[in-house]
């Protein structure tokens, strides 16, 4: 047998091939200025999410009725809202909570979707058929409405919102990974490698894994801003994160009503939220072009 004898060498080659592919992808990514700018802001956003609660000058629930609806001052650099919350602190905490919700919801959806997608793709038969029926069901109507119903039932805390987003989010990942598994299982490269006597594990590590990782990375890069959007959108109809927990959705929706009197309540929340979503899209787009230059649009 050839494979055991050259196992170590082949593994080394595979590893170096992977790093050089990653390097090429990074070079392609860097060539896209929007993607780089987006990545910088996304990293700043994550950083603010981590350190925000320590940096914030005020607590998110701390009110000062004497200073309600006050324009920006030294003590309140972004002004205060109708309850006298410091907008700067509100924003810092919002970043933290928004990221917690988006990341946990995406990861949960990602994990469930990956497991079910792998199961469907590898098992085939009735498992595949019935799982895909369920996936189709989730794609047949706007998931946002199911989110609304779930939040109505389970409440408007962090946990229920994460749960709702995960429930409606897993189907996309499942469909993606099932497609990848089916495509790779019957792909020429895999067939050739198998014909040469490579073990299934080797095939999976060498061919399936890198392809799946890059595709899932792209999916996550689209998924996280999607979850940011939906959790904010819940606030727009009044079903978002329960006050006093601050959130971009609540700030934007509240400011929308107060805009004629106190426009500064809108500048920062809407600005940061918009820039963040744009950055995520640039990153996702850049990743798509860098990792998957042929596919997508």
């Amino acid at each position: 047998m050839m494979v055991p004898a050259m196992g170590a060498a082949a593994a080394g080659r595979a590893a170096s091939a992977r790093t050089s592919a990653a390097r090429r992808a990074w070079a392609r990514y860097r060539a896209n200025p929007l993607a780089v700018v987006g990545l910088v802001w996304v990293l700043v956003f994550f950083l603010l999410g981590i350190i925000g609660p320590w940096v914030a000058p005020h607590g998110y629930a701390q009110t000062n009725y004497l200073m309600a609806n006050h324009p920006p001052t030294w003590a309140y650099p972004m002004g205060t809202d109708s309850l006298g919350h410091d907008m700067f602190s509100e924003i810092l905490f919002s970043i933290r909570f928004a990221l917690e919700i988006a990341i946990f919801a995406s990861l949960a959806a990602f994990a469930v979707g990956t497991v079910l997608g792998l199961w469907a793709g590898l098992q085939g038969g009735w498992v595949d058929a019935s799982l895909m029926r369920i996936v189709d069901f989730f794609f047949a109507f706007p998931a946002y409405f199911l989110d609304l119903i779930l939040v109505t039932k389970f409440g408007r805390g962090m946990g229920p919102i994460i749960f709702a987003l995960a429930v409606t989010g897993w189907a996309g990942y499942a469909r993606l990974i099932r497609g990848l598994v089916l495509g790779m299982r019957d792909g020429e490269m895999v067939e050739a490698a198998r014909a040469l006597g490579a073990s299934p594990l080797h095939v999976a590590a060498r061919y399936l894994f890198p392809n799946v990782v890059s595709n899932m990375l792209i999916a996550l890069a689209f998924g996280i801003p999607g979850d940011l959007t939906v959790q904010a959108a819940l606030s727009v109809v009044g079903m978002g994160l329960n006050p006093p927990l601050p959130s971009f959705g609540n700030m934007i929706a509240a400011a929308g009503g107060n805009i004629l009197g106190y426009p500064w309540l809108l500048y920062w929340p809407a600005g940061i939220f918009a820039v963040t979503l744009l950055s995520f899209l640039f990153v996702a787009d850049g990743l798509q072009e860098a990792l998957n230059p042929k596919g997508g649009y």
């Binding site: 929007l34 069901f137 047949a140 109507f141 706007p142 946002y144 409405f145 199911l146 609304l148 119903i149 779930l150 109505t152 039932k153 409440g155 801003p225 959007t229 904010a232 959108a233 727009v236 109809v237 009044g238 079903m239 934007i252 929706a253 400011a255 929308g256 805009i259 004629l260 426009p263 809108l266 809407a270 939220f273 918009a274 979503l277 744009l278 995520f280 899209l281 640039f282 787009d285 649009y297």
Partner: protein, 321 residues
């Protein structure tokens, strides 16, 4: 397969999905903490009425009890609820028990459907030429600007754009167009622009990519070799081929557009389904909430069916199945 059998099959599948959505919603609500459909919960939803007019309250309670069969086993309740909804017999809402839900929908539904459809049409009318321009001037500054703008349109959810527009036209340049309310033609402007923006981005990017791809095809060279003028080559051959798949791009966008309508209506205070829906959710008015969701989902699925049919019409290679 014949077109009619195809449509029939799709209708059955829509019916199945929508029934599942209804049943799922009903069951979820049934087991909500404090169970919405239990008499106790109804009582709290109409608490004030009970104080003010005990007689009227009792008659409403009887109406809801009959309506939802609250004494029946759950599976019968679900079946009855789904059946009532599918036959567009929605009953009355908790919040407004004297008015049938159908009455409220009669004015709200056309507003939402009109906004959604209008924004799609607008998006096509704007995005299509922009995409063609971007493709024909690819890799120039015109292309970069258009591509970046359309990405921005796609990235920003309509509610963010809506508040930005309110800021611009309410605070910075007041008086140009109304930023609130409904009833005059001018009220339509900002909401429909918000709703269209995302789809303009989708259509522009799709048309650009697809047209560049089409122009690379062998049949374009054939048309050029025939001596067809370049303008006709672009429009009759390349654009025509790109158009066939444009409807498939609009399909998924439609679901998003309908959801966006809900948000935009709330921000611009438009008395459509979306405002009705958010009010119902906030007030725990479950019949109205589920009914609005039901209608919005129906709108999305009906549109998707139309999209698939028109795709098959435009593309001779597609067989319906």
């Amino acid at each position: 397969m014949g077109v009619f059998r195809y449509i029939l099959k799709r209708l059955v599948s829509i019916l199945g999905t929508i029934s599942a959505v209804l049943a799922l919603s009903f069951i979820l609500m049934h087991y909500a903490p404090g169970s919405f459909f239990s008499s106790a919960n109804l009582a709290s939803a109409m608490g004030t009425l009970r104080m003010e007019n005990a007689h009227l309250y009792a008659s409403y309670m009887q109406m809801f009890r009959d309506r939802y069969g609250l004494n029946l086993p759950l599976w019968r309740q679900v079946l009855e609820y789904v059946w009532h909804s599918l036959s567009f017999n929605f009953g009355n809402s908790f919040e407004n028990p004297s008015v049938p839900i159908m009455e409220q929908l009669r004015t709200a539904f056309p507003i939402s459907a009109g906004l959604a459809l209008g924004s799609i049409v607008l998006a096509l009318m704007v995005g299509f030429p922009l995409g063609v321009v971007a493709a024909l001037r690819r890799n120039t500054w015109v292309d970069s600007v258009l591509t970046t703008l359309s990405m921005a349109g796609q990235a920003l959810p309509s509610f963010v754009l809506a508040v930005i527009l309110v800021l611009v036209f309410g605070v910075w340049m007041p008086g140009l167009v109304p930023v609130n309310g409904w009833g005059t033609p001018a009220n339509v402007v900002l909401p429909i622009v918000c709703l269209a923006a995302g789809n303009v981005g989708v259509v522009t990017r799709y048309m650009r990519g697809s047209l560049i791809e089409s122009l690379r095809q062998d049949y374009i060279r054939t048309a050029e070799a025939k001596g067809v003028p370049y303008r006709s080559v672009v429009w009759r051959h390349a654009v025509r081929n790109s158009l066939t798949a444009l409807v498939t791009v609009i399909g998924p966008s439609f679901a998003f557009t309908v959801v966006s309508t809900v948000w935009v209506e709330n921000i611009f205070s438009i008395p459509g389904l979306g405002t009705l829906l958010s009010g119902a959710f906030v007030d725990d008015d479950i019949p109205l909430a589920i009914t609005s969701v039901f209608l919005l989902c129906l709108m999305v699925m009906g549109m998707n069916l139309l999209v698939d049919l028109s795709y098959a019409l435009m593309n001779p290679r597609v067989r319906l199945e």
